[in-house]
Amino acid sequence: MKRLLEIIPGFLSWSILIFFIVLFLTMPLSAAVAIIVFLLYWVFRLLYMSILLMLAHHRVITKRNLDWLATCTTFKSDLKFEDIIHVVLYTIYKEPKEVLEDSLDALKESLYPKDKVIVVLAGEQRDQSALEKLNFLNEKYKGHFRDIFITIHPKDTEGEIPAKGANATYAAKIIREYLEKNGYDFRNVIISCFDADTCPDKNYLACLTANFLKNPKRYRTSFQPFPVYSNNIYKAPAFARVIEMGSTFWQLIESMRFEKFITFSSHSMSFKTLVEVGYWPVDLISDDSLIFWKCFIKYDGDYRTYPLEVPVFMDIAVGKGLIDTVRVQYKQKRRWAWGVENFVFAGMAFMDNKNIPFLEKARRCYQILDNHINWATWSIIVSFITPLTLIWGQIISKDALVLFNLTYVNNIIFHTFSFILILSVVISYEFLPPRPREVSRFIYVVFVLQWLLVPLISAFLGSFPALDAQTRLALGKPLYFYPTPKKREA
């Protein structure tokens, strides 16, 4: 059964692509009709997503100036603000200490009492420099937080794969011992699992606490900030900026679909809940999204993710040069697309769970498949199959009206896309950090023009990695956890 579930996403994606290809080769006029329907579907879907993006953007900017700390302290909750403790867990593997320093400096600048924050730096034994690096940081930031300590995850533990989830779980178990030893009530502890390059917004902890206190189902909720990849935005290549900004937009769009929203990358949750569900998965790559599904299954569907109104700032994945950056981006996106394993995980768990209604299970499975299959196919169909259909149709039947109208509909989608690009340019400006002095003002012109790269990169760094991941899953080829290289230039 597990193998069947692993095959389904790749099978569906390839079937859709092969269907369109066979159709345009054998019946180009019918292919034109099918593509018209497909493009029309995407016109409306993109317009709908644009509206969601605008709503999400509105939600964020209207709360930008909110005094979250005051909200925490004045809100009447069954929990006391004074009792709330934050554990901020950084999972680290080979990131240079400069990256971690930036992250910890950002945490230090939070508008939140630092004596309520415990920092845990979780390193890997596989990383030769881990101990030395983490000890340095431990010494440097001691006294700035309630407490700070390090953990080193041993390598080659049975039942684990070398992945972030295994490291985080190992650290969480040590955190549990620490909390128990120091008499902390897990109900008052919020754990935030961050990547090494995660710089939380200065209001992050306050916003998180306020929402935790306000939420009557706080132990049935994960809290997800939206990631903004801007730490090195002025140094990254244009195409990488566009891709990562697209990821931010996608998270903002998804945040508007409250009931479907799941955790991604850096996120927070109640430590009590984390313990109850057995921590993050140690044998799967997509620990960030799978923790949501673990909770969802555990609590029979009574679990959701709340989209926080503040961001965390992260690095754009870059390589040594332009070509290497393409390689790094491809691998990162393929690792993200490996989130399709959620379908397998959820599907297997749903079969054993008799308490979640069937319709809810079906809806959730459909939701995962819909996201991943669209991810793997839509830009290939739009960027390659549609033009090929037009060209082939011109050879076979140049006076067919439907082929002419396909060009017309294609132009409509292009104009819709242009509207979305303009919207993207406007919204992306919201998240730009201040320009360093050494960077020319011309960069702002580049920031506008870079969006013209979208049609080119959406297939190569969008659909292809997703299709690659699904195909590997279907063929039973494992994907190893790829730690995205992070760096800071002097």
Partner: protein, 308 residues
């Protein structure tokens, strides 16, 4: 704005987008295939489209006599499948006219280069390849008869009007060989060096033109053809004989005279129905002029044939 408000707005736009897609998709698909609802007949008709490009651009477009708002390059959708007349005009350029047949769910592409006007030179604006033309004279005015790749046309001498009288393309080889042409009783008679054809011009509402009929095949070379004897006969000088060929009956022909000299000159006086011939007398070898009264000659021949 409260969280619930975002949820309401989201659901509103979701349903709006879904309904718009479900409602518009069939309309757009049918429209892409060329279907259009005709209110008068209350039926769906399969239409086509016409795209027009000209060099230079911004030529005015007249579709079936009606001036269109768009100038070239232009696309006209939901055009009923039929024959359409298109005229493209631009100041300083000769107008270009063409007739196109639009098929259902098809697109007719027109790509035309307009010819700039020269002073005192007019060009016919019609879209056909002219193989051969003749000018005929009438009491009502002269007329050009053109053999083209789209059939036979009567063209006004101002080159602005043309009427297709027959859709048959006799081909550039045959048309190029035609040496003369006459109009006869709703027919055209044309000939080359060996053959004389008659083509009946269909009268409306009949539209289909019959193939040209070969009415005479010369023994040598068709040198002269006259329409005579009250315009009922073709008087043919074919280098060996002068023959009267009944124009309405290819089987009926009468030998008027044998000719001694192949290049004998012939003149036909339609007023007196007399034929004048300069020929060589076999006895002396001297050239003389002969006069033949055709009316009584043909009358006598007919009586003899009827008697026999």
């Amino acid at each position: 704005m409260r969280e619930e408000s975002y949820l309401v707005l989201r659901k509103f736009f979701f349903w709006l987008a879904l309904i718009a897609f479900l409602g518009l998709a069939p309309v757009i698909i049918f429209s892409s295939l060329g279907y259009k609802f005709n209110w008068s007949s209350k039926k769906f008709l399969r239409t086509g489209a016409i795209t027009i490009e000209t060099t230079p651009k911004e030529a005015s477009v007249f579709l079936d006599g009606q001036k269109m708002k768009e100038t070239t390059p232009a696309t006209f959708r939901e055009v009923l499948p039929d024959k359409h007349t298109l005229v493209l005009e631009k100041d300083g350029y000769y107008p270009y006219e063409l007739t196109l047949l639009l098929k259902p769910s098809r697109i007719a592409k027109v790509d035309v280069v307009l010819i700039p006007k020269a002073r005192f030179i007019e060009k016919s604006r019609f879209d056909f390849n002219v193989y051969r033309f003749f000018v005929t004279r009438h009491i009502f005015g002269d007329k050009i008869i053109a053999f083209t790749d789209k059939g036979i046309f009567f063209v006004g001498t101002d080159l602005q009007n043309a009427r297709q009288v027959c859709g048959i393309d006799i081909g550039p080889v045959v048309a190029g060989s035609v040496e003369g042409l006459k109009e006869y009783d709703n027919s055209l008679i044309y000939w080359n060096a060996r053959n004389i054809w008659m083509l009946k011009i269909p009268e409306p509402p009949e539209e289909i033109c019959s193939e040209p009929v070969l009415v005479y095949k010369a023994q040598e070379v068709v040198r002269e053809v006259f329409l005579g004897i009250k315009d009922k006969y073709l008087i043919v000088h074919d280098g060996r004989n002068i023959v009267a060929q009944d124009a309405s009956n290819p089987a009926a022909s009468f030998l008027i005279k044998e000719i001694r000299y192949p290049k004998a000159e012939v003149f036909y006086d339609s007023r007196t129905e007399a034929l004048y011939l300069r020929d060589r007398m076999p006895e002396t070898g001297v050239f003389s002029i002969f006069k033949m009264e055709l009316m009584p000659m043909i009358g006598e021949r007919k009586e003899n044939e009827e008697a026999s």
